[in-house]
Symmetry: C2
Subunit: 327 residues, 2 copies
């Protein structure tokens, strides 16, 4: 992580410059929410990936700052609209845009953020602009599709592991691949290297999301800022639940379904019961194995890239940090 | 209008092709609404303007079909999101997307339509793509700003005529200018001609919206599909109301404010009273004069364009038809 402190600092400056530029623009109802959501924090993972990839292929990270701002703004657009869809009152312990202002303002300011994300790419020369815009548009659509699939799962009685992996690929993973590829484009990397760094990011994203599901059930409240077991209480169709429903015997499936009917007032019993079943079925290992599979594919893609070995190793260590394991 | 029947036919084919392409794409919840909203009709004015401008500058209209589809898709995106904001149950006597499906689907399918509008421009060569994308993004943001300003007016006690003209310019007029300029770009028109055709469309759009305000108060129900006086009942801050509040004497202003307090159950009294005041203050003439002013500016811009006189005259007659007057 320490290798990338300079890159993070570089992006945070660019972000402040962007937020500063919003201060005197009318109508305020459209630009205050943009300023607000960009200001409530976040790991800034996606813009950092843009800069890391640009540096990996020996580009000047400064040249990738507008791409970095583009993916961060897009990510924040998706948070604003998703929070409406999820009726979420809070994000990072702060009011969401639709609860601080209202749904109409959240819709419209989100729309503007989406268009402005595109505009950030306009500073690049024509051919580079088109490469970036095509990749970005394709990704933006996949992210929306992922969000829709996730919503659909709520009303589906059965979701396959394959459907689930397809959903998280679109909703989460492709934007990580896109961020890395945008940085690669900015550095003028070869097409083959662009594809490999994209796939590295995509598979890393899948592994990351699988481990995130695991964390929700087994993680530590204080460390991750989430109440452990939230997905279980909400019957969220995570990889864990899907695999438990798939691999459990008749009795275990019936017990799981009974537990899923329990209301929020029985949260503690529900979490305990479901986790007991997960333990009996070795679900955490199954999930970890699937994450390892995608981590390994990611690593293989990184290995084939023609770039400085030290830089590649730094990126590998960074990925290990994200996945909270050694690589 | 008859001059442009071929162009309209050309676009309608392209539109059907687009709708056909949506039929086997998943998730259905994202693409059925797009297919639906594109299918409930409309004048297809914006795509027609793209093709007209392309033809005016001796481009092949076929080359402008993707730009035409882009502006039509964007226009429909804005309808889907605006109908949520306005809580409108119907559009062209059909259920709006958020009432037929739900608000979440309307938000997300709208988002995808916005991104897909951009993608339609990707088929153009790099420099043309960038010119189109820049113009389109700038316009998209202005349209969102116009919608926000319009919403703000609902809660403002006083709106100036200048504020109002600024709002309709963004919400309605710039997209007409943009459509024409996109066709001009597709035909390879000179920058100066591009600017003039944009300004022609923008001022035509302002005139059109002013006359639309007039129609709402004085139009014929059967002809325009709107209940006459709807804006009056809703206290909508149209040019007519703004000018009446601005030019009325103390008594007239007080009477207007009294009428504005009347609920929907007194719609008839309200419409009659407000229109009496409009008549006393000669408001319809003031509005018509302002529309004429912008029409004249539009015509002047058209006159300076270096293009075939017959084609220019056809466009002038088309504009006259839109404004329901002779030019």
């Amino acid at each position: 992580m320490k290798h990338y402190e300079n890159l993070t600092g570089l992006f945070l400056n660019r972000l402040e410059q962007h937020r500063e530029s919003l201060k005197n623009v009318e109508p305020r109802e459209l630009y205050d929410p943009e300023n607000y959501i960009l200001g409530i924090g976040g790991k800034r993972l996606r813009p950092l990936l843009v800069l890391i990839a640009c540096d990996l292929f020996n580009g000047l990270p400064e040249c990738a700052l507008d791409s970095a701002m583009c993916v961060e703004l897009f990510h924040n657009f998706s948070l604003v609209h998703d929070d409406i869809l999820d009726e979420a009152p809070l994000r990072r312990s702060q009011a969401t845009v639709h609860s601080k202002w209202n749904t109409n303002i959240a819709i419209l300011s989100g729309d503007v953020m989406l268009v402005k994300a595109f505009r950030l790419l306009e500073k690049y020369p024509d051919p580079e602009f088109k490469q970036l815009a095509k990749l970005f548009s394709q990704t933006a659509i996949e992210v929306c599709e992922g969000q829709q699939l996730d919503m659909n799962f709520e009303n589906q009685t059965s979701v396959s592991a394959e459907d689930y992996l397809n959903m998280i690929t679109r909703k989460t993973a492709v934007l990580l691949g896109c961020s890395l590829q945008m940085g690669a484009i900015n550095s003028g990397a070869a097409k083959k290297d662009q594809e490999n760094i994209y796939e590295f990011g995509r598979h890393l994203g899948i592994a990351f999301q699988l481990l995130d599901d695991l964390l929700d059930a087994y993680g530590n409240t204080s460390e991750f800022g989430k109440v452990s077991g939230g997905d279980i209480v909400a019957n969220k169709k995570t990889y864990l639940l899907i695999k438990a429903l798939e691999t459990g015997n008749e009795w275990q499936q019936a017990e799981l379904k009974r537990l899923m009917q329990l209301g929020k007032e029985h949260a503690e019993e529900k979490i305990k019961g479901v986790k007991n079943l997960y333990n009996d079925l070795n679900i955490s290992n199954i999930c970890r194995q699937k994450a390892d599979e995608h981590t390994q594919i990611a690593i293989n893609h990184l290995a084939t890239i023609a770039a400085d070995e030290t830089k590649k190793n730094n990126l590998k260590q960074f990925a290990a940090g994200l996945l909270n394991r050694t690589l």
